[in-house]
């Protein structure tokens, strides 16, 4: 194939691909989850037909369904299902430390975070909610187009893998929204605490999802290893890694305990997900947790 043909094909594929690969993954995951969840089953302002009921005096005249009334005698009013939109705010960490995987068979943590974030967004958008992506200066939006935009944003951020700070609650964030932060949270607990304080005053329901590579959990290395930080933390030479494994695991557990304590203190929930586990389980628990929240 000649060079021009290749370029042409590439361009054509670009033009045809409205769905970024990340979004395709997310949609696939979300599709398996949405079967079990339902919207609010009551009448209210909305587009979908809900029920016919007898006319009462308080009803405005234009709500009368004349066709139905003519068919059966009594005057009927057409009611629609209530679809009041809520706002969800998502944040997926795309800092360099998230671009880690211990084996080429596993996705990087950032990729998994993206899939989970978008899958959640997809579920929420299907439920008619408005979703915004924190850290991108975007407004909360609904509809399929918003999902595609989010996917593009996330994908670019994951490829660039620039160091990013933890998000702060934007001014536009409505009260009682749901906030989901997905990261490895391998930061000093103080830093995280300062970041979360801004959300606390907004009366939002929050959830922290920690994504970890299995190697970070178990430190499966042996021998003389020079460890290199991924966010300019410096480097460290350990003569026998197997000797420090237990200590490391203890420290990780302590860190996680601190995270749990922090989230409990501010009324948020905390969960852990490993990249060697299928994403569906994490998404289902995340979704259920959000659905339990009183909106």
């Amino acid at each position: 194939m000649t060079a021009t043909a290749q370029t042409l094909q590439h361009n054509a594929e670009l033009a045809a691909s409205t769905l970024p690969p990340l979004l395709i993954d997310a949609n696939r995951v979300a599709a398996t989850v949405s079967l079990g969840s339902h919207g609010r089953r009551r009448a209210g302002p909305g587009d979908t037909f809900w029920q016919f009921r007898h006319y009462t005096q308080s009803d405005p005249a234009h709500t009368i369904d004349w066709r139905q009334s003519a068919k059966f005698g009594p005057v009927f009013v057409r009611e629609r299902e209530w679809d009041a939109a809520q706002t969800g705010a998502l944040w997926c960490d795309s800092s360099p430390s998230m671009a880690f995987r211990s084996s080429i068979k596993l996705p990087t943590k950032a990729e998994r975070a993206g899939v989970l974030g978008l899958g959640l967004a997809s579920l929420m958008l299907q439920g008619g909610e408005r979703v915004s992506l924190l850290g991108f200066n975007t407004k909360a939006a609904s509809g399929r187009l918003a999902l595609i935009q989010m996917a593009h944003h996330l994908e670019r951020a994951i490829t660039e893998a620039k160091p990013t700070d933890l998000p702060h609650a934007p001014e536009s964030l409505p009260r009682h929204s749901a906030v989901v932060l997905i990261s490895d949270f391998l930061v000093p607990i103080k830093t995280l605490e300062t970041a979360l304080v801004s959300f606390v005053g907004r009366a939002v329901h929050g959830h922290l999802l920690q994504i970890l590579d299995p190697a970070e959990e178990s430190l499966p290395y042996n021998g003389r290893i020079r460890f290199q930080g991924m966010e300019e933390e410096g480097q460290l030479l350990i003569e026998r890694t197997e000797d420090v494994r237990a200590d490391y695991q203890q420290r990780l557990a302590d860190h996680r305990a601190q995270l749990t304590a922090l989230s409990n203190r501010i009324g948020w929930t905390f969960g852990v997900h490993h990249t060697n586990r299928p994403p569906h389980t994490a998404l289902v628990s995340l979704h259920n947790r959000l659905a339990e929240q009183p909106w």
């Binding site: 391998l186 003389r224 290893i225 930080g229 460290l236 350990i238 026998r240 000797d243």
Partner: protein, 917 residues
């Protein structure tokens, strides 16, 4: 130089470096292996953690040993160890005397490898070398002796070959004295084991230089010398005796040597054995072969013994007995059974080269036997031509005839009576007469006399005193049937009957063949008389030292005619074939070699060893270096794995690549194959699938019609037959290849240009190789307006004029074209009724006509549009005629694809019937 058992080290001081190995051990032991680098996100959690034991990271023991072995191998390799080195005088110059004459050829490879080993040893020790070859050098390459660096001598030795001429040791001493040699020097003599008068002087001289070592073959059974050979006539068979000699020693054991007779292509024709008695050095091998096999023999060779002296070349004197049959037929067409010379030619063909032509033209070349089969008289000018030829040894065989009445010329063995004799005719009481047994003194003696030979007419010899001696065969009543007379060295032989069965049944009988063969044996070889040869005979092919024939190098001189018997074989005249044109004289080395004696015992102070002892010498440096390289590569890969820069599967790949790389380093690479010739993609397409084709005329409507017609026909073929073809192709003979297509349809346009020269050649080539072209030239009234029909006819003529078309005929009733698939009463297209022509009995293509010419506009009948509807009406028959035209199309393609297969099928019942009987 230090010797350790069989090992010798050329630079032993390097071995002291082995002392540093323990130091390296310590160093490697102390230095920990480099840490592997790992990027890790959770490094914050690791800070401050330390392992309790600091010094536990160590190079593993096996890796340590691997590295030490690598270094040790390197050190040992650099000390240049040699296995089984020959003890030599140190640092003195080396004089190497090499016998490279014919006697050295049988064991040349061993000799050469021993020489190379010796010189490699000299190269290691940097000793200057003087190489002396005892056989005279190729003319023009002789140079004064001098010392050379061993590397130069080594390249000379590798290119050295045995010479196909004898050695000359007499001037070796003088040549060495003339050189820049200053004693002391060590001398080596690679002798061929054949004694010469100068041996004693030479060995003493070489011994006086310093020290002499003589290298000989350990277990030699040669060299064998073949020749001379001789032909001994013995009954029907040819017996060839060849002398085989070996070096004479008092202790020579009895042995048997096989001699093979090979033909021109090197195949063994016959095999004979020569038995040497105990202590005897001369033996004889006897080949007993029929004449026809004997005539194929081109050379004799001692089996399993290469060398110019072990080959005896046979030339035309051995093999060729050309027979000329005089024929007055100048046009070259032979009428079997009726031609005068036919029976004689048939009888002689298996045994001799038979030429035919007029008498003067035959005599221009060498002849052993000439046959005058016509029975005509020989004219005076012919007599003057023939007489000297017979004097030189030619055999003239004449037959009688109606014109051979009385003594018409001088070339008759006996005086003849006027008027012949006839038995058993309608006006005669006598019966035809048979043959009497052949006389004892006749060359035909011993041949069985068949009783079916009857002579009804003959010419009669006049009784004379010498008649009995000249008679070779008689009739039962005693009248001579074959008479002969010796003239000079040749013979004149007369058969008193015709060469055809007109007068007798002799020409039909097997005894005639035997008689002619006996006459043939009488004749001498064509080149026996050297006086007829040109004075100077240039070399045709010469033998190499190992007995192969090659084109002579320019330094070879021509052979003088007078020297044939005793050629002076040497660099300027190697053995081989000499002569130009029809002359081919074999010059053999064997017969020129005088008595050969084996070298006796040497003086006691001369060291004698054999080639094998020298060849066992082996330099170990390259092998050790290679082993070190392998270990080093392994160490490299292992280190990369340990540092985490290489995962296990990657390591496997790298290891394989490294092994491959090492293999490439150690073996020679082959040159890449040249890229294939560019082939037109259209041709490739055409070849990949069978398809019909039509010739582009340049007229859009005609080309479209052809395309539609053939397209529809392809569909019909696929539906009705097993010929499933691809879409038809358009070809232009000017540019495209035709060969991929089984059949090409050519609808002639009114303004058809005759094909160019190139296209004509291509079309003729296509037709000649079995292609079929259908010319369609619709010129019916009403088919085209005005005189277009006439134009088409003219255009067809223009095209056909350039092509190789044999005689044409109308398609006969039983032609294969009419029944190759359907049975067709006529061959309609859009029109019908006009004749269709094919080639008459074409021989070249198995009887398949390569050209079919018609004017029915078949393509128009076949053509269908995109909806599958016919485009043109078929007249006058309508749709029924169109169906017939499709059937003709199917037949046409079947004819092109299967050829005359259907015609053969017609005879199947007869064949089956014959097979079952």
């Amino acid at each position: 130089m230090v010797t350790l058992g069989a090992l010798t080290f050329a630079t032993p001081w390097v071995l002291t470096a082995l002392a540093v190995l323990p130091l390296v051990w310590l160093l490697l032991r102390v230095t920990p292996p480099a840490a592997r680098c790992l990027a890790f996100p959770a490094i914050r959690l690791l800070f401050g953690l330390t392992s309790p034991e600091k010094s536990s990271a160590r190079t593993p023991l096996w890796l340590l040993l691997l590295r030490l072995a690598c270094i040790a191998l390197l050190i040992v390799a650099l000390s240049e160890p040699v296995l089984n080195q020959r003890q030599a005088m140190q640092s003195s110059p080396l004089v190497v005397v090499v016998d490279d004459g014919w006697a050295a050829a049988p064991q040349w490879t061993q000799r050469q490898s021993a020489l190379v080993r010796v010189l490699e040893g000299a190269e290691r020790e940097s000793r200057p070398v003087m190489m002396v070859t005892t056989a005279p050098a190729q003319a023009g390459t002789a140079a004064a002796l001098s010392f050379a660096p061993p590397g130069q001598a080594l390249s000379l030795a590798r290119a050295m070959t045995a010479k196909p001429w004898p050695t000359n040791r007499t001037n070796v001493v003088q040549r060495i004295l003339d050189s820049d040699l200053r004693p002391p020097a060590e001398a080596l003599w690679l002798t061929d084991g054949v004694a010469s008068t100068a041996d004693k002087e030479m060995s003493e001289f070489l011994q006086k230089l310093g020290r002499l070592t003589i290298l000989t073959d350990a277990n030699r059974s040669g060299p064998f010398v073949l020749g001379p050979a001789d032909r001994v006539p013995e009954g029907d068979d040819n017996v060839i005796e060849v002398t085989v000699r070996r070096p004479a020693t008092p202790i020579a054991p009895p042995m048997t040597t096989a001699i093979a007779a090979l033909d021109e292509t090197g195949r063994t024709v016959a095999r004979a054995e020569a038995n040497f008695e105990d202590g005897n050095s001369v033996s004889t091998a006897r080949f007993t072969v029929p004449t026809e096999l004997g005539n194929r023999m081109a050379r004799l060779a001692v089996e399993n013994s290469a060398g110019a002296a072990s080959v005896y070349l046979l030339d035309d004197r051995w093999t060729r007995r050309p027979v000329g049959v005089v024929s007055d037929n100048l046009d070259g067409i032979v009428t079997p059974l009726l031609e005068d010379g036919y029976y004689v030619t048939q009888a002689l063909l298996p045994y001799a080269e038979v030429r035919s032509g007029t008498l003067p033209s035959l005599l221009q070349r060498d002849l052993a036997v000439m046959v005058l089969a016509s029975g005509n008289r020989v004219t005076a000018p012919e007599v003057t031509l023939l007489e000297p030829w017979i004097e030189r040894g030619g055999v003239l065989v004449r037959f009688a005839g109606s014109t051979l009445d009385g003594n018409v010329d001088s070339l008759l063995p006996v005086r003849l009576r006027g008027g012949g004799r006839t038995f058993g005719g309608t006006m005669s009481w006598t019966e035809p007469v048979g043959l009497a047994p052949f006389p004892e003194e006749s060359p035909f003696a011993g041949l069985a006399v068949p009783d079916d030979v009857l002579v009804s007419s003959q010419v009669l010899a006049e009784p004379s005193p010498g008649l009995t001696g000249r008679t070779w065969a008689r009739l039962e009543d005693g009248t001579p049937l074959v008479t002969a007379d010796r003239r000079g060295q040749g013979w004149v032989v007369l058969f008193h009957v015709t060469a055809t069965p007109e007068w007798s049944t002799l020409p039909l009988s097997g005894v005639m063949v035997d008689m002619l063969r006996r006459v043939l044996d009488l004749s001498r070889g064509v080149n026996e008389a050297t006086s007829t040869l040109p004075q100077s005979l240039p070399a045709r092919e010469v033998l190499t030292g190992d007995g192969q024939l090659i084109t002579p190098p320019p330094t070879v001189l021509a052979l003088d005619r007078d020297d044939i018997g005793d050629p002076d074989i040497g660099p300027s005249r190697p053995p081989g074939y000499y002569g130009a044109g029809a002359t081919r004289i074999a010059v053999n080395l064997g017969p020129t070699i005088g008595p050969i004696d084996a070298q006796g015992a040497w003086q006691s102070n001369i060291a004698v060893t054999n080639f094998d002892a020298v060849a066992a010498e082996r330099t170990l440096k390259p092998w050790l270096l290679f082993a070190a390289l392998v270990l080093f590569t392994a160490d490299l890969i292992v280190s990369l794995i340990l540092r985490g820069l290489l995962s296990m599967p990657q390591a496997g790949r790298v290891g394989a690549t490294a092994a491959l790389g090492l293999l490439i380093i150690t073996t020679s690479s082959y040159p890449a194959l040249a890229a294939d010739e560019e082939v037109d993609p259209a041709t490739i397409d055409a070849v990949l699938e069978t398809r019909l084709a039509y010739v582009r005329t340049g007229r859009t409507n005609i080309d479209q019609l052809s395309a539609q017609g053939l397209g529809a026909l392809t569909g019909v073929l696929a539906a009705r037959t097993s010929a499933e073809m691809a879409a038809p192709a358009e070809v232009d003979p000017e540019t495209d290849e035709l060969f991929p297509y089984p059949i090409v349809y050519w609808r002639i346009a009114p303004d058809q240009e005759p094909p160019s020269e190139q296209a004509t050649a291509r079309i003729n080539d296509y037709l000649g190789r079995g292609g079929t072209i259908v010319f369609d030239a619709p010129n019916q009234i009403g088919a085209n307006e005005g005189d277009e029909g006439e134009q088409i006819g003219q255009a067809l003529n223009n095209v056909l004029m350039h092509l190789n078309v044999s005689q044409l005929m109308q398609v006969p009733e039983n032609h294969v074209l009419r029944r190759s698939f359907y049975l067709l009463p006529d061959l309609p297209g859009r029109y019908t009724g006009a004749p269709v022509y094919v080639e008459r009995g074409s021989v070249s293509n198995d009887g398949v006509s390569s050209i079919i010419i018609g004017s029915h506009d078949w393509a128009a009948a076949w053509a269908r549009d995109s909806r599958g509807l016919p485009i043109y009406p078929a007249v006058p028959g309508g749709e029924r005629q169109r169906e017939w035209s499709y059937r003709f199309g199917v037949n046409l393609v079947m004819y092109a694809l299967t050829g005359s297969y259907k015609a053969d099928q017609v005879h199947l019942p007869a064949i089956m019937q014959r097979l079952t009987q």
